[in-house]
């Protein structure tokens, strides 16, 4: 393998590792954002449920918390799996590429969020704009990760003839 090819493959691996760190960080941010938005809005939710018996309100709140917890866990799991696997792959400590499936799923989920951000544009405030930018960034990182993996594989294949 020529030095230029090795340098290219190092560059792609570095991109994969950096993107992986970004995906993981976004997962953590999404989980924190979900928790904060529920905690800040819990009073509003209680107010909206004031017409139903107190016991049912408490049960509904518990259900909301459990749902929030499960969602955060799922978000952390999928982002963590994809992100940490990408970092390990980029550093040469992981051979398996199964995390690509998770990355592709995340791409579709992120695209759907972006579409939803765009369709709600007329009513958008600063928060929605920030979310749109964040989702675009996550999409870019995921695509960059998948692109770098493909290019690294192609580069090796071309070199081997």
């Amino acid at each position: 393998m020529t030095e230029e090819t090795k340098a290219k493959i190092r560059r792609y691996n570095s991109n994969i590792a950096v993107s992986g760190r970004g995906v993981f960080a976004f997962g953590v941010w999404t989980a924190i954002k979900t928790i904060i938005s529920v905690m800040f809005n819990i009073t509003d939710i209680r107010n909206q449920l004031r017409d139903i018996p107190q016991e049912e309100i408490d049960n509904t709140i518990k259900l909301i918390y459990i749902t929030m917890f499960v969602m955060c866990l799922l978000v952390l799991l999928i982002h963590g799996y994809v992100g940490i696997s990408a970092v390990r792959y980029g550093r040469g400590r992981r051979k398996s590429k199964k995390f690509r499936i998770g990355a592709v799923i995340l791409v579709f989920i992120t695209i759907s969020f972006i579409i939803s951000d765009i369709t709600s544009a007329p009513k958008a405030g600063y928060v929605q704009v920030a979310e749109f930018v964040a989702d675009c960034t996550l999409l870019f990182m995921l695509i960059d990760m998948l692109y770098s993996m493909s290019m690294a594989r192609l580069t090796v294949k071309r070199e081997q003839g």
Partner: protein
């Protein structure tokens, strides 16, 4: 490089070049003193702080990293420890700010090295010592820059040491730790380096801090990815480089003494040191943290004289007790003059290349030198007409 090379090996090289024992001692003391002459030392003896040729870790902790602080740091480190190779180098697709730092990368056999050696000709032995320190460091510290810069001086975790094996050389990944007081464990491949700092101008990104003390070990052979090299690996063979540094020092000092007419880049006095090649290469190759004892023994065999250990305070009292009018005649006084000249020359050259990283410098010349240059310019113009 460390004391083993700057002090003892420089003594040996000076002796090979034809200097006497006393002269060689003056030269090698001056070469090693470049690593000790900090502002803290200068303030103790009430010497001019502009003559500082190094900065202590404690000084660097207090240094600002705004433009003024960075210029101050770069002036010292680029002038004495990381002499730039090509101040007019070009790199495609980079900003002017990046290019300014890229041009400060140190490598041997640059134009500035020729100017450094020629600056020492006809000057004091202290100037010779300073020039030899700068020359030697261009070999050890190559591929790093004497300015704090993450994008130039950073390395990755892919640091591989090439160690001698039973039949052939083996490669071993280096484990870096951040324990400054602990000596490097060369047997197990555990070395100290500076902590990663994401800030571009952090002092942790000055020089070869991210590579630890590897550049200063003569036995070391290693591969790594420097930040500036676009993911291309560099293989550094200190054993070969240190031998060349030694041979070039002999050649440079022969030129300074007047035995050779001109100092050329990429020229070495291999013929002079050939009878001792095996011995010199043996010292360089030996895996040890510091080779002072071996170089000292070699130097004492060469000259038949005793080489006293380096003492940073050796000339301090002479300087402190001498009257102001006569301080320039003392050993340290001559050192300071030579250091200021070297710093001024390098800073001026960096400034002339439209690089502001070392700040401003005005070349002050003696009137007779000025007249000489003007006359030379007029003669050249006359011959063209």
């Amino acid at each position: 490089m460390q004391e083993d090379f700057h002090y003892y090996a420089t003594y040996c090289a000076a002796y090979f070049a034809g200097y006497t024992h006393k002269e060689s001692m003056d030269i090698c003391y001056s070469a090693q003193f470049v690593d000790q002459c900090s502002r803290t030392f200068l303030s103790k003896i009430k010497a001019p702080s502009i003559a500082a040729t190094t900065q202590l870790q404690l000084e660097m902790m207090d240094t600002r990293t705004d433009i003024i602080g960075l210029q101050d740091i770069t002036r010292i480190w680029a002038s004495f420890h990381f002499l730039p190779y090509d101040l007019y180098a070009n790199k495609k697709g980079c900003s002017r700010r990046y290019l300014a730092k890229y041009r400060l990368i140190c490598k041997p056999n640059g134009d500035l090295l020729v100017k450094t050696v020629k600056l020492a000709k006809g000057k004091s032995l202290q100037a010779v010592g300073i020039a030899m320190h700068v020359l030697a460091d261009t070999w050890a510290h190559m591929y790093f820059a004497g300015t704090p810069s993450l994008v130039i001086n950073n390395t990755t975790r892919d640091f591989i040491e090439v160690i001698p094996g039973a039949e052939k050389e083996l490669e071993r990944r280096v484990k870096f730790v951040h324990k400054n007081g602990t000596p490097d464990d060369i047997a197990n491949g555990i070395y100290t380096n500076s902590i990663f700092q994401g800030s571009e101008n952090s002092i942790m990104n000055l020089g070869h801090g991210r590579a630890g003390r590897f550049p200063d070990y003569s036995f070391a052979k290693y591969k790594y990815l420097p930040a500036w090299n676009e993911y291309m690996e560099i293989y550094k063979d200190n054993q070969s480089d240190y031998y060349k540094a030694f041979a070039q020092m002999v050649y440079a000092m022969k030129y300074i003494r007047g035995d050779i007419e001109n100092f050329e880049k990429d020229t070495y006095a291999y013929d002079v040191i050939a009878p001792y090649e095996e011995r010199i290469r043996g010292i360089i190759k030996k895996r040890q943290l510091i080779a002072s004892d071996d170089w000292k023994a070699f130097g004492e065999e060469l000259s038949g004289e005793k080489i006293e250990s380096f003492d940073v305070d050796k000339y301090r009292y002479e300087y402190a007790r001498t009257s102001t009018a006569r301080k320039n005649k003392t050993y340290l006084g001559k050192f300071f003059i030579a250091a200021i000249a070297q710093k001024g020359m390098v800073t001026h050259e960096i400034f002339e290349s439209k690089n502001m990283l070392a700040g401003f410098a005005i070349m002050l010349m003696r009137r007779d030198k000025q007249m000489e240059l003007i006359q030379r310019g007029e003669d050249e113009q006359g011959s063209k007409d």
